[in-house]
Amino acid sequence: MSEKINIPDHYRRWEADIKIGKKDDHVTIGYWRDGCKGCGICVDVCPKKVWEIIEAKDKWNGQVVQVTDASKCIKCMLCEIHCPDFCIKIY
């Protein structure tokens, strides 16, 4: 992949080699925890169950999200498009 990955340093990152159909690919998932409000929309829209909700005592509603397994990602972009808080970047 030649595309430039532009994920700020304060984002958490997960990476994996993946296959999309028969093609080899690579995914980098960036996540901004400070901006995340734990709404769970990314968990709901992901067709591959890449995201999960976890407890976060420092957040007012007590939860944020994390990636369970980046290698399941198919780069459909649904989580990035539907996160209302600009917290996800898929490359």
Partner: protein
């Protein structure tokens, strides 16, 4: 590839004030991607809004922005467009802002067919002020002002826009971010008044009173009622009760031969206004 929203945002104002999972953020993102699709220079765009949760959006956008008074965004926007016809003017309104207090401005902006784009975030309520019923609250639903269920029939904002003379009209929901982006882009491209209705969740105010107080169930309530226009055309009116019809209601070339378009659209307003300017200057 990830979209760089930072390019269009005032990052010092983010995180925004909207509730976790609020639909407005999803619509704002679709709109920013549409701006990118157009390749517009940020200095050539003006975002105008009234008052409400939805109307907070321009405060987060790093372009020319104007946060005006409740219901009057279209009047301010019309002023900007007439003074600077070459600039792109985009209005971001709630259902209350656009169709209740601002209903009069709404129909007249449609009637003038002025080359601006209005994005209406329809969350079926007045989110900001405590979830009162709006002209789009469906019959039977509870709000803080309809505690036994709403009895007021609703406006269909797309039909209203069409009837009033808007020349591009489309609707998509927050469950389909890509479709929203496509319609807003087409609205931007269109020379005339374009209205894009984004059906959105306000689970905090509207949802909570109707057994869908979290974003996931409120979004599902919308998804379950969603129906594409092509399918709706084959259905009976009674089957479409309470449904959210999505699609393009009027496109670039309105079906000019249809009898109900006999009155539509005559001309684009800034172009017509220029002919008046020219005439006035000839006289001198």
């Amino acid at each position: 590839m990830a979209f760089e929203y930072e390019k269009y945002l005032r990052m010092d104002k983010i995180p925004h004030l909207w509730c976790p999972g609020c639909g407005i953020g999803v619509v704002l993102k679709a709109m920013l991607r549409a701006v990118e699709n157009m390749g517009w220079n940020k200095d050539d765009v003006a975002f105008v809004s009234g008052i409400g949760c939805t109307s907070r959006a321009p405060g987060y956008i790093d372009c020319n922005t104007l946060h005006t008074t409740h219901g009057r965004a279209l009047a301010f926007a019309t002023g900007i467009k007439l003074a600077r016809p070459a600039k792109h003017v985009v209005i971001f309104s709630g259902d209350g802002d656009a169709t209740a207090i601002g209903g009069n401005h709404f129909i007249h902006a449609c009637r003038r067919n002025i080359n601006m784009t209005l994005v209406v975030v329809n969350n079926n309520t007045y989110g900001m002020t405590g979830g009162q019923h709006s002209p789009t609250t469906p019959i039977g639903y509870k709000t803080s002002t309809t505690v036994y269920g709403n009895i007021d029939p609703t406006f269909d904002i797309c039909m209203l826009a069409r009837g009033a003379g808007a020349s591009y009209v489309a609707r998509a929901t927050v469950n389909k971010g890509k479709q929203l982006e496509k319609y807003i882009t087409k609205g931007f491209e269109h020379n005339g008044f374009s209205v894009i209705v984004a059906t959105a969740n306000c689970h905090t105010q509207f949802g909570r009173k109707n057994k869908m107080g979290d974003p996931i169930s409120a979004r599902k309530w919308i998804a379950d009622r969603e129906i594409p226009l092509e399918k709706a055309r084959e259905m009976k009116a009674e089957e479409l009760k309470d449904r959210v019809i999505t699609g393009e209601f009027i496109t670039e070339e309105p079906e000019k031969t249809r009898w109900d378009n006999y009155n539509h659209p005559v001309h684009e307003y800034t172009e017509a206004y220029q002919t008046i300017r020219d005439k006035a200057q000839e006289k001198k």
